[in-house]
């Protein structure tokens, strides 16, 4: 499978990365090199093989569904580019 410039534009949009039109041919080329490389997997027969979900066989640890930590709104929002009253500030989303 190989990707064309239109697909690259769509993927960039999904990945939320701004890509200039002039960059599309280069990116398509680079992605195709990688996608061609992974094509080798088509040689492998995976009939009746389960996908690996955990590298070590263990039961998922469970705990009571209660709050055990938290309450640091200030510590969390201090890393933001813009915050006010312990809220993250973003450009206006609703007119």
């Amino acid at each position: 499978m190989s990707v064309d410039e239109k697909t690259v534009r769509r993927v960039a949009r999904l990945a939320r990365i701004k890509v200039a039109d002039s960059e599309l041919p280069r990116l398509a080329g680079e992605l195709n090199v990688i996608l061609n490389f992974v094509e080798q997997l088509n040689e492998v027969n995976v009939d009746n093989v389960m996908p690996l979900t955990s590298v070590v066989e263990v039961d998922m640890r469970l705990r009571a569904d209660v709050v055990t930590d938290g309450g640091y709104a200030k510590a969390v929002t201090q890393s933001a580019a813009a915050s006010e009253d312990d809220f993250f500030m973003v450009p206006k989303v609703v007119e």
Binding site: T7, A12, A15, I17, K18, V46, M50, V56, Y72, S79
Partner: protein, 488 residues
């Protein structure tokens, strides 16, 4: 006596005997770091914090108290969250990020009495094999070819960690390994690096790249130091549901144990076409070293080896694209204002991520997108099951597997520009991550050009002890390797 030349084990003995103080040792490292700026190993130095920690250590040591690493100065890869200190995964997008919390690994180290010297350079978000993708620039390998003053890369992604340990500007360093990022740079710099079994070390507070593959471990000057460091880093952590509830053994006890009767597997598939004769010779010498100490050499087959790297380049970018979705210009670091929220995301991520990271996020986004998920991601996870099955079968015949660590010695910056060519650096290490197994790189000789070369030992899940036991035998036979100091 040069204090910075001491291994952890040697420094520990002198600190406990009060022959040296933690402050003297720390000052020696701070001054060595000052003189080694040209290597670009550190991206943030914390001398004041180091002195404060050393002071506390000296009080404890004077009372005959203190932890397993009391007063030992360490470098920390920039991927580990350190409270109030530069933590940016060497990415532009995390500009100015100083977390309000500490990673479990670093907390374990501080609890054991270690001293923090600063944060170490790395490939951006641990994506790279040469440290060239760092926003803070490349790192220089302390090693150079015979009769050459040309700079070489230290490998990646833990390039700063490997260089700092090799150049004696920290006693040991933390590192992480998703496809070979501990073992490849260790091999390139003549240092020891171990990636433990997935789940042995908590991932909590470590910036995530590919969550099903990421695992932290140490880079050290010798095998004993790696055992000391891993014991301190490993823990059972309720904050990481993938951390396994098993006691952490005293790994140091495995060193010096006889390997008589141990079965060493040599996987024939690793003798891939184009394996450099020098690497093949090193591998044979390594097997000979183990045989001379009574081990039995057994040829084995790991038939799906060649598919590990292509499967990795689906799984790792897929998980990365998901993990890196959080860098949106809202919650951390860099923000490039746009016309609206989406435009802000897109501009921030275009400016904040380097080329390699963008490439991988886009590959990951593509393979996870509607209509492609089964063909790529699910298929790759199935191939992973087959890779793991190869090893499961091998363990009925052998106790440990011996392979080369890397296909070559260190190369020059700019020498490899094709991404797939760069990925091939991980060809011997990546299977280990795909199967979740422990692997150690141990320096085993020098190339004809005078550069360090390493061998890799792969173990059964949670059998790090056999890796230390076997690696110590190789080290005993091959010796340790120290770069000539040309930078200070």
């Amino acid at each position: 006596m040069t204090l910075t030349a001491l291994t952890i084990a040697q420094a520990r003995a002198k600190l406990q005997a009060r022959e040296i103080s933690a402050m003297e040792l720390t000052e020696a490292y701070i001054s060595a770091i000052e003189k080694a700026k040209t290597l670009n190993a550190y991206v943030a130095e914390t001398p004041e914090q180091a002195r404060a920690m050393a002071k506390v250590s000296d009080v404890k040591l004077a009372k005959g108290e203190g932890g397993a690493l009391e007063g030992i100065p360490l470098g920390i890869k920039d991927l580990f969250a350190t409270k109030g200190v530069h933590t940016q995964a060497c990415s532009h997008i995390l500009d100015g990020f100083k977390p309000g919390y500490e990673s479990t690994v670093t907390q374990n180290l501080w609890d054991a009495g270690a001293v923090m010297l600063g944060k170490l350079n790395m490939d951006e978000f641990a994506m790279g094999s040469s440290n060239e993708t760092s926003y803070y620039g490349g790192v220089t390998n302390p090693w150079r070819r015979h009769n050459s003053n040309k700079s070489l890369v230290p490998g990646g992604s833990s390039g700063g960690s490997a260089t700092a340990v090799s150049a004696h500007i920290c006693a040991a360093a933390t590192a992480t390994d998703t496809g070979g990022s501990i073992r490849q740079p260790a091999a390139f710099t003549g240092t020891v690096g171990i990636k433990p079994t997935y789940g042995r070390v908590s991932r909590w507070g470590t910036v995530a790249f590919a969550s099903s593959l990421d695992q932290a471990g140490p880079i050290t000057r010798d095998v004993r130091d790696a055992a000391i460091m891993l014991k301190a880093m490993a823990s059972v952590d309720l904050k990481d549901t993938t951390s396994i509830d098993l006691p952490v053994p005293d790994y140091e006890k495995a060193i010096g144990k006889s390997i008589k009767g141990l079965r060493i597997g040599i996987p024939k598939e690793y003798r891939a076409e184009g394996l450099a004769p020098e690497i093949n010779a090193l591998w044979e010498r390594g097997a000979q070293m183990l045989k001379e100490q009574g081990a039995e050499i057994v040829e084995i087959s790991l038939p799906h080896t060649k598919y590990a790297l292509p499967a990795y380049y689906i799984v790792a970018p897929a998980e990365a694209s998901s993990n890196l979705a959080r860098y949106d210009g809202v919650r951390y670091g860099l923000r490039i204002p746009g016309d609206d929220l989406i435009d802000t995301y897109e501009k921030t991520r275009a400016a904040g991520f380097g080329r390699e990271v963008q490439r991988r996020v886009m590959v990951g986004t593509y393979v996870l997108s509607a209509g492609y998920y089964d063909a790529y991601y699910v298929k790759a996870q199935k191939v992973r099951t087959l890779i793991k099955r190869d090893f499961d079968e091998a363990w009925s015949k052998v106790d440990v597997v011996l392979t080369p660590a890397t296909p070559s010695a260190a190369f020059a910056p700019g020498e490899i520009t094709d991404p797939v060519q760069m990925y091939l650096n991980d060809i011997f290490t990546v299977t280990v991550n795909m199967a979740g197994l422990p692997g150690i790189a141990v320096p085993s000789g020098l190339s004809s050009e005078g550069l360090p070369l390493g061998l890799q030992l792969i173990g059964k899940p949670f059998d790090e002890e056999t890796l230390f036991q076997t690696a110590a035998v190789i080290e005993q036979a091959a010796g340790t390797f120290t770069a000539k100091n040309w930078w200070a």
